[in-house]
Symmetry: C2
């Protein structure tokens, strides 16, 4: 069988599984999830042994320490993975929820109900826990998954998927509900992306290169988790203590997160005083600063001059672009030019300026007097998230279980026909 035929077979099998999954009651899904969590622990030795093979190969290949850390599993991480599965048991099942319900003058009754999306492809890179996290969220929302992980984590992913399948199937998991593509070459991504007769959605999880490749090839919808060039704007009336708390939290609490701040904008009327307040704090937190000529002049040696390139960079690191703006309008214009529509904060005591900022900027989450880091499924109270969508169609911002569903209409009549 050609590679294409083998991937199409996964697609056909997933479609078949998706039909059984769509009508599986919540109580059955929860029993299966518990069995999967048990199996991850019961097969922990096999998973860790598989992970050791990947780690050894990664070391031999010269992967960076950060990459190896992302790849690495240990008993603590495995327990967290199993615990993650158990937490999904507690989430409400979105499938079957009645979203709307109305009668028409001709007597037809229309009901809009939530249904699974169907078959979801997840294409991801090094972290093996995505295998479990993504599969169980898709499963709880009634979707079949086809997982295609990166080559560095291949043995780990295979062992994790085997544990989920062999744990779930005796508890009632429909066969082929969770399938791992047994190939890690680029061609397999292309076949998946073109297989729109079976895949209803692809979610790429990984770097910009991976996402762009999938977007270019895909013939079905793609939900993207692109970069976050997030801004904190400190307005003229901002409380300095609040502004510095929010900025430091947004920048340094987890610099590698997509919802970390990358740029500080400061109103010119308070810029000298605010910089005098915040620069020592940023310096103490080891944040590299790239600002305008006013900043570099005031803090020689502590900041370099920022170019347009800095303002469009997602550092994901202890670095910050800074700009002094003359007006709220200039702050909004800067965010429109350089932002990625992710998370933007205004710190102000002026409710009118806050309203303009929240209304006029088109980002998934706009915050007034709170950290960028709150653009997060857990912090929103969703219980979990498959990621933070940077798209505007279907799902935007934190994606929980409801964002992994579609809907259909059920119409009940008594013989009505159109006039």
């Amino acid at each position: 069988m050609s590679l294409r035929d083998q991937i199409h077979q996964l697609g056909r099998q997933a479609l078949e599984a998706s039909r059984a999954l769509a009508v599986l009651p919540a109580v059955s899904k929860n029993r299966i999830l518990s069995a999967m969590a048990d199996a991850l622990l019961a097969q922990g030795d096999a998973i860790l042994a598989a992970n050791a093979i990947d780690l050894a190969a990664g070391q031999a290949k010269g992967l960076s320490a950060a990459m190896l850390d992302r790849l690495m599993l240990n008993p603590t991480r495995l327990a967290a993975m199993a615990q993650g599965v158990r937490e999904v048991v507690d989430l409400p099942d979105p499938v079957g929820e009645s979203l709307a319900d109305w009668n028409r003058p001709n007597g037809l009754h229309i009901r809009k109900i939530r249904v699974p999306i169907g078959v979801i492809g997840i294409i991801y890179e090094s972290r093996p826990n995505v295998t479990s996290d993504a599969a169980v969220l898709c499963f709880k929302s009634g979707n079949a998954t086809i997982l295609r992980g990166g080559s560095e984590a291949f043995h780990s992913n295979t062992a994790i998927a085997a544990a989920l399948q062999s744990g779930g199937e005796p508890a009632g998991l429909p066969p082929h509900s969770i399938q791992l593509v047994p190939f890690t070459d680029r061609e397999s991504v292309q076949h998946l992306a073109e297989m729109n007769q079976y895949l209803d959605l692809i979610i790429p999880r990984g770097g910009k290169g991976l996402i762009e490749t999938v977007v270019r090839l895909a013939r079905m919808p793609v939900i993207k988790h692109y970069d976050g060039i997030c801004h904190v704007y400190v307005d003229a009336s901002a409380d300095f203590a609040m502004a510095s708390n929010i900025l430091l939290n947004s920048k340094v609490q987890k610099p590698s997160a997509c919802n970390a701040a990358e740029t500080l904008l400061v109103h010119q009327s308070i810029a000298p005083a605010f910089y005098a307040h915040i620069v020592p704090l940023l310096h103490a937190a080891r944040v590299a600063l790239h600002g305008g000529p006013d900043l570099t002049a005031a803090f020689p040696g502590e900041a370099t001059l920022a170019s347009a390139e800095h303002y469009q960079t997602e550092y994901l690191d202890l670095a910050l672009s800074i700009k002094t703006v003359a007006t709220l309008d200039e702050a909004i214009a800067h965010i429109r030019t350089y932002g990625s529509r992710h998370s933007e904060v205004i710190v102000t005591e002026d409710a009118g300026n806050a309203a303009r900022f929240l209304n006029e900027i088109d980002s998934s989450v706009l915050l007034w007097n709170a950290s960028t880091r709150f653009n997060d499924g857990g912090e929103f109270g969703f219980g979990c998230e498959i990621g933070i969508s940077t798209d505007k169609l279907h799902a935007r911002g934190p994606m929980g279980l409801p964002e992994l569903t579609s809907y259909k209409y059920q119409v009940t009549g008594t013989g009505q026909v159109r006039a």
Copy 2:
């Protein structure tokens, strides 16, 4: 300027317009819509003169009578177009609607509000009224549009777009809110489809070839309006009079519509009696029949033998595929194999069978004892529709104004940071 640069300029201008549109109050939008409707009538002579040029070229090119009819405008059709714009005035403005609202334990207040999608590309074929219909629905929902019509209707589309712009702008329409691409070659479709830095969504309106081209090229979300291979299943307990009413309405009321029925499935226990009842009625309505050997044997000369190809054909014409099935399961399996997830009807007096049909089939609209033709925005009470989506992401089934919007989150705090 290259063709690509010219199309990118349209994109930049549309993005700029979309920012003004996003905050335009409903009262302003309605005033602008009324002015546009007036302008369509006031500039009626110019529009009809432009249409006459397209019609003459179409005749010279040998377009079919059906194609020429789709292209043709006259004072009645122009009045209907203007009336269509006035009806959009009466629809509620979806933008700014609060979709959800909650407080978190840390005191953050989160509000999910409806916002426009942004910039929408509409790529369509011969009917010039799409220029007006699509532009005003997108406008009312706060979106900027880039319209790219077919070459046959180029002069008509240009005159209609000019009327909307010149009528709307004195009333406050932001410049570049509605732009027509002044090119009709294939390359312009490609540049639009690749321009994901400006276009948030593409909606292709037209034949399968056009949609497939757009899907293959597009780097942004596409909402597709594919074909409807819609089924009517007459179950063992069906009321014959109701079943034949529904079937005839589904098939013959408007055979060219995507929600017209293409296949009749009949439970074997009633098939001979139901065929004896319905075949003369279908014959009187001039419907060509393609059925199984039982049908062709019972009605020699009135039906031809159906192949798999018939069951996967969207006739859009007075033709019907027919199949006798042994069980409800066989009916469901047939629909899964040959259907296009559009509209499916069960006619039955058995509530349990109806529930299985409505729950187990994955189509945008499932109907119990009502015509397929009710899968329609107007019939659903949406007041209008931009089409019937055959996608499962973002919008499924009839698309009204709310389906032309996205959402964002506005978070209000008092200095909260993440622990």
